[in-house]
Assembly symmetry: C2
Homo-oligomer: 345 residues x 2
């Protein structure tokens, strides 16, 4: 094993769609952990839509990644040299490890993960941030009731695929919107959605939603925004709830997009539109995790991943995810876990 | 007293701004109440923004007024012939009496009002639908906390002027937006708003809101919509609440207006936008009324009206209200209450 740490840094701030040249792979020595520190080797890296915002030079709810700095990102890793009793050599951890082979930590931002309970990569998907996002966004903001109609955009993605299944578990009629015919079949055949359609080939969202949501829409879990959301708002039921999880259709625009004003519609329908971030639910993560793990264990929740191998392919995985190429959670497999508990150094 | 009932009917459905010729005054005999019915003479008539929607040929949350039918509207009246013990001759009632001198009722839609507690016209304003709208919209949806900044659009109108005062009573910093300099002075000098500005003379809403809301906006009580709301959204604080009460800037457009898409902003700020109708709070009207009456009694709540005399001037009063000519609640005084309890018939 080479004692080189590969890191993927932000090379330039994209205008519009990011491209591979906005990232740069650099090499540096593997850091040596000091007292009360651990060295972690990255096993699985998560790429997520929110990272697009971090590439901009504009503080949003989090600071941007600095130019030349390692790209931020959640990952599952293995402790390969430990000076911390809480995280012994060989243990598995989850945290914001970044796009790199190795990272040092004082442990304050790490959580142990249990390989017996679920595959390690699941801690970046159904049992990680996307699963918790779906869980709290849908249940806390959407509050779906049995028999209600729930519409999910970005339904075949990491969050949408979980949100739709949770809505089914609540006894709802669930309609998904996704970007390929394969995803549409996946939603219906594998995840049990009641109906779904391909927004790229469908030319009239209004007619399609009218057809698939004949009772109107009670909960709209929106990952996408744009014209699909305009149409969805048209079919809201009284007291509808819109969980605004993401607006991926807007993230790569060079100019803010205009759309029909919608607030009057919210009065007519006494509807609620609420944006949320999963981190605001941190005090309740244990509750969400426990329920998600239970559903995963019983098979009530299906867990689908798209995996790309190699840290060097993280930019490609990220760009592919922005373009909707993944089904389920997009993961980058960086290295294989090692058995045994000896130090790597 | 002439035994003629004047009624103002909907003569044509306006495209864009309504005009006086969209209404027609007709005369008919005063109806004679049957058993278990009362005849009511209208004293004060309310004109409200929602009536614009009823003039369209499109069902919203309520059915449109039919062409040729009497315009709908809340009013306070006096029972002038009673065949119902609950509403004796001379008693005062509030209900959807419509734009007419006289109306018959079986009592099911009437409420007695107490002239000793407040002036009769107050039951159309601070103690009526506008007051309850402000009360529940601000407190239930906005949930203002002491020290928070509350922005009110349409702040000098029937609802806005009450909402702003309630926000002050909650210990908030309150900023009002209104359409004349006189209204701005009224808000600051008479109602105790912390600041206010005239949106018609102000050219840069962004700069003005930045100046007046240096701590950002926690609650936005929106009666207006449009560009002002675009700017307000720019200054939302984390976990801000937007109470969507009205969108009067949009009601007279001939084409739906486009505006910047705003849902991504709601994610960044984890903000909630909720539309509401006061009728959904009907089970809690007693609670709201009791509190409003108490504040009115102690002088903590100021009650301002603009009064126009004569049923025939109801269209003018309505159009003036749509154009923002009123300060406080716009009322049409239709007739004077009579003392004594003899039947009019």
């Amino acid at each position: 094993m080479d004692k080189i740490n590969r890191q993927i840094t932000l090379a330039s701030r994209p205008i519009g769609w990011p491209k591979e040249s906005d990232f740069k792979l650099i090499e540096s020595p593997i850091p040596v952990p000091g007292p009360s520190q651990v060295l972690i080797r990255t096993l699985f890296l998560s790429v997520d839509p929110y990272m697009r915002g971090r590439m901009n030079d504009r503080a949003s709810y989090a600071d941007p990644v600095k130019l030349g700095a390692v790209m931020t990102g959640g990952a599952v890793g293995q402790v390969v040299h430990s000076n911390l009793a809480k995280f012994p050599n060989g243990s598995y951890v989850q945290g914001m490890l970044g796009w790199q082979d190795f990272v040092m930590s004082d442990g304050s931002d790490l959580h142990r993960v249990n390989r017996e309970l679920a595959p390690l990569s699941a801690y970046l998907g159904v049992l990680g941030m996307p699963g918790l996002t779906a869980f709290f966004g849908l249940l806390d903001i959407g509050q779906p009731k049995p028999g209600e109609t729930v519409l999910i955009s970005g339904a075949a993605g990491a969050v949408g695929s979980i949100a739709g299944q949770i809505a089914k578990l609540q006894g709802c009629r669930v309609i998904g919107v996704a970007g390929t015919d394969e995803k549409v079949r996946f939603l219906i055949d594998k995840l049990g959605f009641d109906a779904a359609f391909n927004y790229r080939s469908e030319t009239n969202y209004f007619a399609k939603l009218k057809e698939l949501c004949p009772q109107g829409i009670d909960v709209y879990f929106d990952n996408v925004g744009g014209e699909l959301t305009d149409a969805a708002l048209h079919y809201l039921n009284v007291h509808a709830r819109i969980c605004v999880c993401g607006q991926i259709s807007q993230y790569n625009l060079t100019e803010p997009e205009l759309g029909p004003r919608l607030l009057w519609k919210l009065i007519e329908k006494r509807a609620k539109v609420q944006g949320f971030l999963v981190m605001d639910y941190a005090p309740r993560f244990r509750e969400g995790f426990t329920q998600l793990a239970e559903w995963l264990g019983t098979g009530e929740l299906q867990h689908r991943e798209s995996i790309i191998d190699g840290l060097e392919n993280a930019p490609k995985a990220f760009l592919g995810m922005l373009h909707g190429e993944n089904i389920g959670k997009q993961i980058v497999r960086v290295s294989q876990p090692e058995t045994g508990a000896s130090s790597f150094l």
